[in-house]
Structures are given as structure tokens and as C-alpha cells.
Symmetry: C2
Subunit: 313 residues, 2 copies
């Protein structure tokens, strides 16, 4: 039985996660690690697994051993949607963070089997009521939406690449999602606004019910029809590797909502607390290591600290 944070809901939903699975080489001021488990789907799924049952969709290559699948299985993640493509290796990314972690350079990208990735859902996944679309090509994100039955609550993430080369496909997509998550510089790029508040308001007018703009160490802001909510980051003093912070945030956020089977303003705010704390654990070690080993008690403790940090009483 996988340990999960209790939701006090009798109607917990599973969460569908779609995204990349990768091996990463990561260089930081603290050192270098090679061939570590990465990719948005991995981080999102592991983070979400502390809250909800996770259905994962992705593609892995011929170099992806059972030991890595076992790490995901150990967190109770349903891997029926993870396809093994023996024609080549897994998606590979190599990046370097500079002093202060303010900037990162991508040194190498090899798409490998990810180049032909097409997220076809197993039948058993098509009724998912909560769906997290990782930052893959907007047309692939749309392809997932097309297969879903009912009226799911959908979070979509993106990256600057799609804003630059697939703006129209991205604009089509965000009209159809419930919650669009994007970082501050990307939000400004997509809206041509240089004020984060105006950018968030403009993004909401583009279609999604809600928007969250992530500001890294400065926290995140939710724009919702019922109001705005600003949350500072958890005060991390031991930053080691920021890779996967945004994916962990999105995964925990959607995991928490799915586990409560709620997505109203108040529920999203509460889930942002857990999302922030889960992401703060991820960045304290290379790759998924700290996220994977954190345990529910560490997350609950941080959630309590974060609530104190923002309490005016």
C-alpha cells in the first residue's frame, strides 16, 4: 500500500498524467549527475502519487531498465499507458545550471523514441476526470483531450519552445483547458505584456477557466474567476537541482485536487500549498531522489510551515 496524504474525501479520482519520460544529465554548481530518471511525466507522476492514484502515459526506449519502472511502481503508479519502443533509446536531455541557478543552458537534446510519441490512451484511462497534460507539443496535448470521455478537469503546462514555434496550436489548446500553468517569462512572452498581473488576466481571457503563473523562488499566482491568490515559495535554503520543480508543482497540485475530487477556487488554493511544498522537496536533491523518498510526513510538515509563513494571525 502506497502512503498517501489523506484527502477526507470518499470520492477520490485517479489522475491521468501525460508527458515525457527522459534520462537527464544535470550539471549544477554542486556537481554533475549522469543518466538520471527525468522528464515531465516522471516528476508529475511521482509528485501526484503522494495524493492520488496515477495513470501515466509516456514512451520509454530500449535503454529504460526495469529498475526505473520499479521506482514508479513503488509509488503505485499505473504504467499501463507507458509504451516501450525498442527502436531506440529514451529521450535524453543535458543541461547546466549556472551560479545562483538563475539561468540554465540546454547542452544537448536527443529526442530518440520521443520523436514518434503519440499519446494514445488505454481504454481504461479514457474516463479520467482529472488530467495533467505535461509540456509536450500542443497538438499532442489536444490529441489526448480528443480521446477523453465526459468533462474532465484538465491542467496544461507548456514551454517557451511551443510559444515560439507553435503559438496557434497552443492558443487552440488553452481555450479547452481548465487550468493553464506557465512560468512568468513565458506568460509575458505569450501575452506580450511585461506586467505579470496583466499577463495573467489576459491569459484567462484566452479561454482557460484558471491560470497559474509560476515565479520560481518568488512563488506563484492563481488567476481564477472568483479572485486572485498569491502564494510565496517554500523557503528553501538547500537548493541542489531545480529540474522538475514545475512538474512536481503541477503533479502535486492535480494529485491533491483529484484526491479531493474538487476544483473550486478554495480547493485550488489549498492544493497550491501542497504543490509548493512538494516542489520544494524535489529541488533539494538531484533528479527525483528527494521527491521519491520524501514521505507524506515531510510534505505535511512543510504544508504546515508554509501556512504559518503566510498567516497574518
Amino acid at each position: 500500500m502506497v502512503d498517501r496524504i489523506e484527502s477526507n474525501s470518499t470520492e477520490s479520482s485517479p489522475l491521468l498524467v501525460v508527458g515525457s519520460v527522459a534520462f537527464d544529465n544535470v550539471i549544477t554548481p554542486y556537481g554533475e549527475k549522469e543518466h538520471i530518471l527525468g522528464g515531465a511525466a516522471s516528476y508529475c507522476s511521482l509528485a501526484a502519487s503522494y495524493y492520488a492514484r496515477v495513470r501515466m502515459v509516456g514512451v520509454i526506449g530500449n535503454d529504460f531498465g526495469e529498475e526505473h519502472l520499479d521506482r514508479l511502481r513503488a509509488r503505485g503508479i499505473d504504467l499501463e499507458g507507458v509504451r516501450k519502443d525498442d527502436s531506440g533509446p529514451t529521450f535524453f536531455w543535458k543541461g547546466k545550471y549556472h551560479e545562483n541557478f538563475n539561468r540554465r543552458d540546454t547542452l544537448d537534446i536527443q529526442l530518440n523514441v520521443f520523436e514518434n510519441f503519440r499519446p494514445d490512451l488505454p481504454n481504461s484511462y479514457k474516463d479520467s476526470a482529472f488530467v495533467l497534460l505535461g509540456n509536450i507539443h500542443p497538438a499532442l496535448q489536444m490529441h489526448v483531450l480528443d480521446q477523453l470521455r465526459g468533462d474532465p478537469f484538465v491542467l496544461a503546462d507548456t514551454i517557451d519552445l511551443w510559444i515560439e514555434i507553435e503559438r496557434n496550436a497552443l492558443l487552440d489548446l488553452i481555450q479547452k483547458v481548465s487550468l493553464f500553468v506557465i512560468n512568468d517569462t513565458e506568460a509575458e512572452e505569450l501575452t506580450n505584456e511585461n506586467n505579470i498581473i496583466l499577463a495573467g488576466q489576459k491569459l484567462r481571457q484566452m479561454g482557460p477557466q484558471s491560470v497559474i503563473i509560476k515565479k520560481g523562488e518568488h512563488g506563484a499566482i492563481l488567476f481564477h474567476e472568483d479572485g486572485m491568490f498569491a502564494l510565496p515559495a517554500f523557503p528553501v535554503t538547500d537548493l541542489r537541482d531545480p529540474t522538475g520543480a514545475g512538474d512536481s508543482f503541477a503533479g502535486a497540485l492535480m494529485g491533491r485536487l483529484a484526491s479531493r475530487n474538487r476544483f473550486d477556487f478554495s480547493a485550488i488554493k489549498e492544493a497550491m500549498i501542497y504543490a509548493t511544498c512538494t516542489a520544494s522537496l524535489t529541488v533539494e536533491a538531484f533528479g527525483c531522489d528527494r521527491l521519491e523518498s520524501a514521505g507524506v510526513e515531510a510534505i505535511k510538515e512543510r504544508a504546515q510551515s508554509l501556512q504559518s509563513l503566510i498567516s497574518i494571525d
Copy 2:
């Protein structure tokens, strides 16, 4: 009778403000204004005047007309401590903000009569229980402390110049203050830390009871023996001139504390709400214009909005 925000305290204290009075030429992407009222003492005093009776100490030159003094008098500010030095003009600063307001260049500084400024307190000011030391030379800040009777609650602000050329005098001073306020880059410079949380903790170990690190559009963090408190900025969409934002923050913060005659953790947190909202008004127009004309209702309305913005309920 000057309009003030009610404090529900029967023991409101006056606030002593010491700092520069200046004329500024300000260039922003929105335009340019010449010879406008500025200086830390002006912004601090005007901001504080919405909360408490203000005693102001500074020096003005032979070009400082009654119309400017009248602006301060209109907000009920006690000018007994403002000395007129007819030997030259008032302190002058000229600065230019770049696109996005991320960077500002000082184009001209003329100290003028401020060069010989020595903050000698009128006798009637020496019993002040709340004292705001604007960002003047740390030796002058210390000179103010030496004249005070009793055990006042003292806030000190500083600027990067003193960190660079008067580090030891500054370190002597901050040992003696109750609340040290500094912006994020200066905090990192003074502590040699590149993490804002570690910088804040280290600053507290240097002597002050509390520390507030200001992060501009990302809000502010309080480090106090009873805990930490992180507050986002007020969501400003109409930024016009950031000059005086930090001074308005400090002025309103201390004005609020003086008006409640309290300086415990909870009182400082509550005062930060008002400080943030008051500063948000300042930056919506050039110079002191918006700050001066804001009125208590606008401040109270923003304080309520900011509390909603951070509420998880």
C-alpha cells in the same frame, strides 16, 4: 484635522523620521519630471502621516519654497526638525528607469546642503518611542540614536553605497536597531549569501531583533524571533515611478506600529500589509503625487484586497 487610519489604540505614539529631503529629476519609460519633491524623509513622512503623528528631521536648501513645506504641513507633519540652510540648494538627484523598471541609473547627484547635514534633534523629539532612520550615512543614524531617551523601537534602512564604503559603521549600527530593512540584492551583498532566506537569518544574527527583506514586485519577508512571514506585493498594473516605494513602505510600517503602540510579531505582520499597500499607491504616479492624494479609503480598500489575495479560505 488630518485624515488617519484608525488604530483602535488609546496610546498612539508619534513617529520620528530622519532622512534626506531632495528634489528629483525622474525619467521613466512614461516620461520625465523635473524638480519634484523627493528624498527618503519626504516619502517616509507622507506615508507615515496616514497612520501617526510624524516628527520630521532633515535639511532643505535656499531653493525649497513654502509650497513644498505646505505639502508636508497639509499632512500634519511636524517640521520643527527640518532646518533650512540658506548656504546652497537642496539635495538633488537625477535618475532614469529603463524598460520594465528592472534597472535604474543615477545620472546626477548634487549633495548641496545635505553634505553638512547633521541630524540634531529638537528637545521635544528626544522622547520619541518610534524612530525611522532613513538611509543616510550610518554614523548619522547612530548620532540620532545617541540623542534618544528611553528604549525606542527603531527601524533603520540603508543603501548599497554604505555597504560598500561604510560596512563597519553599518554593522555597528544594525546591532542597535530593532528592525533592519534592506532590499534583496543589498541583503545578499551585506551577508555574502546568495540565498535570501539564509541572508535574512544571518542578518538577524548580526544584532537586530527583526529583519525585513524587500523584494520589490515579489513582496517582502520578515525574519523575527517568533517566526517568518512572507507577503506578496500588491498587484500593481499601472506602475509609473518606483521612486520612494521602499521609503513609503518603511514610513507606513512604522506609522502603523506607532499608531498602535505595538511592535510584536503579529503587529509587524499587520503593519506590513499597510506598508505594502501604501507603497503600491506611491508607484502609480511620479514622485509623491499619488501618495499625497491617496486618502485613507484607498489604503484601507487595498489592505482588504491584499488580505484576500493571501487568504487560503
